[in-house]
Symmetry: C2
Subunit: 584 residues, 2 copies
């Protein structure tokens, strides 16, 4: 293996771990933490409560001097080059389109799954690497590359933001061919905007942040806000069937997209035009949501756009218990005043939010104390039981007013107390901090991950409890120090159920093969989720991480149908990333 000192080359982002290079949580000698840089509202705040929160939650001590060192010289397996293919590429494309550089290859050989990917990159090594990275700039180049790949028996892997957390970008062990990642991020233009119809045609390599920024300048927006919005791409959203925070107003990705162009070894899958709701017989487009790189490369999509809302407001409410909060959400789900986003966090996550606050000073401090007093002393809320619901409301001012009034009224009926817009806003702000915190804590032997599922209303309690029980049970079984951390929130509500989003972590100091142990616990938790009525995924997708659960998800004939489809449409398995039903 080439022994490569690691320097991130992905511009402003790390590439090998989460996020921007200038945004890092830092532990100071006084045991406060700060977030570096100035990208986020949290940046620069001195947060003294976080380490104590971690220590209390995990029942461990964080030792600032006991840092798990990141591997500095990343071992990258040497590229396996098919010389005929390489010379065909060299004679067909300009040299800036492809790279066999070790770091480029490493950066395209994984996603952001903790156990199977990031932990290995940070502290060990990955098993398999991409052999070449191709930076496609047009449909024509993609068509040509696929032709060459088919001719030379090459495996192609679509690569967007690299934020997959389902091991969808993990390379299949059984793949013996040369593997080329197609990085789509140079195909990042908005091709046209039609404001009358509320549509835009957008290249698939655009990141969420760029997409929203460019539309914003024209007075428009998409409103698709997955937590990865800064880095993930339109193509990735479609391939994983992504969900956005504000789906109640703008829809999930399958509601937003009206046409997809996918280039496959057998031609281009697309509709001749975008279609407002249509009945058109069996519709190939419907298979592309969740296709996870199995069929071809998504190069563009026509998507719905919206005028920027007149008003955006935050709000929040606290509830004496998780169950009260869930009851409120269910009642809300039956109304016509569901805000763009609504989110219930459990008590542990509520306190997590508090722990990431700077110490309030002066008048603010006073107010903050008074508020706490009212809620806990007068209303009798138990600080270790209470939960919070946060809201984002968008629309015309009278629409937002209607939502706000009714939401607060309904929350009162469920013993909720208004907790102000600031706490609402803070709740959403923290969303972007989670992955940075994962990488920060891993320095101190704490491995963390998130995990989501969709669950019917009647099974929420059961899924949460059983998943927690399983984690505690295995934590004990593996003799892991301290106690496990498990927190959950409900970031999405639907008519028949919700998405539950778990955050969990463990202090793995002294555990041998910690990422493997962690991964097996995660697997067992998913098993428990599904046994109790949860789904295989709400929006992260299946990839390879959850392939074992497909037989619990659909019938054997359903799986076979997709396999046959793949076999007949891509008989040489050019798109050989082998996700979901095709996983080994």
């Amino acid at each position: 293996m080439a022994d490569q000192k690691f320097v991130a080359t992905n511009g402003e982002t790390w590439g090998h771990k989460w996020g921007f290079r200038d945004s890092e949580f830092i532990l100071h000698t006084d045991r406060t933490i700060t977030l570096s840089g100035n990208r986020y509202d949290l940046c620069g705040m001195v947060m003294p409560d976080f380490i104590p929160y971690v220590e209390e939650s995990l029942q461990i001590k964080v030792d600032p001097d006991d840092v798990l060192p990141e591997v500095e010289h990343k071992p990258v397996p040497p590229p396996q080059i098919n010389p005929d293919f390489l010379s065909a590429v060299e004679s067909t494309f300009p040299t800036d389109r492809y790279s066999v550089d070790s770091i480029d290859r490493l950066l395209h050989s994984h996603g952001q799954t903790t156990s199977e990917e990031v932990y290995k990159i940070l502290y060990g090594q990955i098993d398999k690497a991409i052999d070449m990275v191709f930076y496609a700039e047009s449909d024509e180049e993609v068509v040509e590359l696929i032709r060459l790949a088919e001719d030379h028996n090459i495996c192609l892997v679509p690569f967007g933001g690299g934020t997959s957390v389902s091991s969808a970008l993990k390379l299949p062990k059984s793949e013996n061919r040369m593997i080329v990642a197609i990085d789509t991020r140079r195909m990042d233009k908005i091709e046209w905007v039609n404001t009358e119809d509320g549509r835009a045609c957008v290249q698939a390599g655009i990141t969420g942040s760029k997409l929203e920024k460019e539309l914003y300048n024209q007075g428009y927006m998409v409103g698709h806000e997955p937590d990865s919005i800064e880095f993930s791409t339109l193509g990735g959203w479609i391939a994983t069937q992504a969900s956005g925070m504000k789906k109640n107003r703008y829809g999930n990705i399958e509601d937003i997209v009206e046409n997809i162009t996918v280039i496959t070894p057998r031609g281009i899958l697309e509709q001749n035009q975008a279609t407002t709701r249509v009945s058109m017989g069996m519709r190939p487009q419907n298979l592309l949501f969740g296709s996870e790189g199995n069929l071809g490369l998504i190069t563009r999509a026509i998507i719905k756009i919206h005028k920027l809302p007149e008003v955006q407001e935050y709000a929040s409410a606290v509830f004496p218990s998780w169950q009260k909060g869930v009851d409120f959400l269910q009642a809300l789900s039956r109304t016509n005043y569901i805000p763009a986003s609504v989110r219930l966090v459990d008590n542990i996550q509520f306190r997590f939010g508090q722990a990431l606050k700077p110490h309030p000073e002066g008048f603010k401090k006073l107010m903050s104390r008074l508020q706490k007093l009212f809620v806990t002393q007068i209303k009798g809320f138990d600080p270790y039981q209470m939960c919070a619901v946060t809201f984002v409301m968008e629309g015309a001012s009278k629409e937002v007013a209607y939502q706000k009034q009714n939401i607060l009224e309904l929350s009162k009926q469920h013993e909720g107390l208004p907790a102000g817009p600031e706490n609402g806003k803070r709740g959403y702000m923290l969303t972007f901090a989670i992955a940075y915190i994962r990488d920060f804590l891993s320095n101190y032997h704490i491995i963390g991950e998130t995990m989501e599922t969709s669950v019917p209303w009647s099974k929420i309690r059961q899924v949460c409890q059983k998943t927690k029980d399983k984690l505690f049970q295995l934590h004990e079984k593996y003799n892991i120090p301290g106690q496990p951390y498990l927190s959950y929130r409900i970031p999405q509500i639907y008519h028949t159920g919700v998405c539950i989003y778990f955050m969990f972590g463990m202090y793995m100091k002294g555990i041998k093969g910690p990422e493997v142990v962690f991964g097996s616990i995660e697997h067992a938790m998913r098993e428990e989720i599904m046994k109790n009525g949860g789904s295989i995924s709400h929006h992260h997708g299946v990839g390879k991480l959850r392939k074992d659960f497909l037989p619990d998800t659909m019938s054997p004939a359903s799986i076979e149908l997709i396999r046959q489809l793949k076999a007949s449409h891509d008989p040489n398995n050019v798109f050989g990333i082998r996700n979901n039903v095709l996983a080994d």
Copy 2:
């Protein structure tokens, strides 16, 4: 051919033409019409204005004595029986499960498409008939029947309500095997209801009316109301990707269904449980919407159910012109107070509604005159330009109040005038009369049909105008008497566009092969629709009627993908009805 005097055997319904046997429009000697029976609000009313409206619209005279006689002795091709299959069926199933009776076969050999189906049955003969009807009562029977069909090289055709208007039930000319229709209507039970999660598991042969009635008795509803709700089935809705009048509140069929069970020759396609929104990799279920009998038999689905709303209210508004109405709808589509149903009818259809009113008497007459005066004299609305929008609002009383107030306010901004709940209710009532009127008018040489498409906001004017031009142009070219009738409405709005629903008709007296001429005009109109930005269908589906337009709808590779899927999953083409991409 067996010469068979026709007696409908489908219980209360005709089966060969639209609707209930006791509900027929009757032309009286004084040129008034009435609707027989007592199923509909319209029944028993004396309507003197309708025949004059028809005569004015078509520029013809309706001669009550010049009736086109229905063929009394329907010729039915003799059944082509595979004797081995027949004896296998006889030894496997009770005798009440199957029939080779000519009338049973005839009733299962077509849908309700005017040109290619109903007109032929009424006044001529169909080309091809089903050879046996199988009345399935359970999944086990379906599995067994499919096994026998595969063993004996039999073609199977799913049959639900028989209300298809896309020639999806028309038998393929190229089919030489014995053809068996599987009538699903004995599989019509609600298997379970889960009110906490808002779900029910329902057998696919249930009709909309039965489904809603049974849920109503438990205080629940689905809210899927296609115009065919009285007769069409859950399985049919999925197979055609149906849309319901109240989709703004309850969703279209793809929004309502959370799990589908389809029995195919290669096993059962289904998920192991219903899922609230899920990302699960490539999802076979997504292919079943619009599958039109191509893959297997849908036997059950898990669907969303809702508590009966606290309030249901109708409302309506009139607008000085079609364009003002469209502008209002577009503005409404961007709000959060879209009612369960909203519908804009053009001036011709507005007057159609007036023509189906009984002559008002006494105070009602006075009020009616005054209203007309106000709208036309004071506000200056041209009675030959004005249009109407009708609304159905459902929900909690405060939700409905919020909608009503804002809708009327918004309509004012677009020069709309409130026209009261009665006119709203009437508009929806007439929905159910359309198909009866088609069959009534065909007695007097008038052939009529409906046709729908989805269109982006920017193309509405163009699609309507060009479609109308094409109709008038061909009407002249074929020397058809009088003038053609064309009316349109917008029954559904979406973010990027609308569904346009056309009603058109012609007086075909003296035209040779009138249904063929009519069909070719319809085909040319669809061509025009698509050329100008409309879609192949909004909710009727593709079937065989619109197969020619699939290459204008999706790419060659997309069509090939579905063909390969079919070839590998049903290699013997047991489900050989050949719709959409599989049509000859």
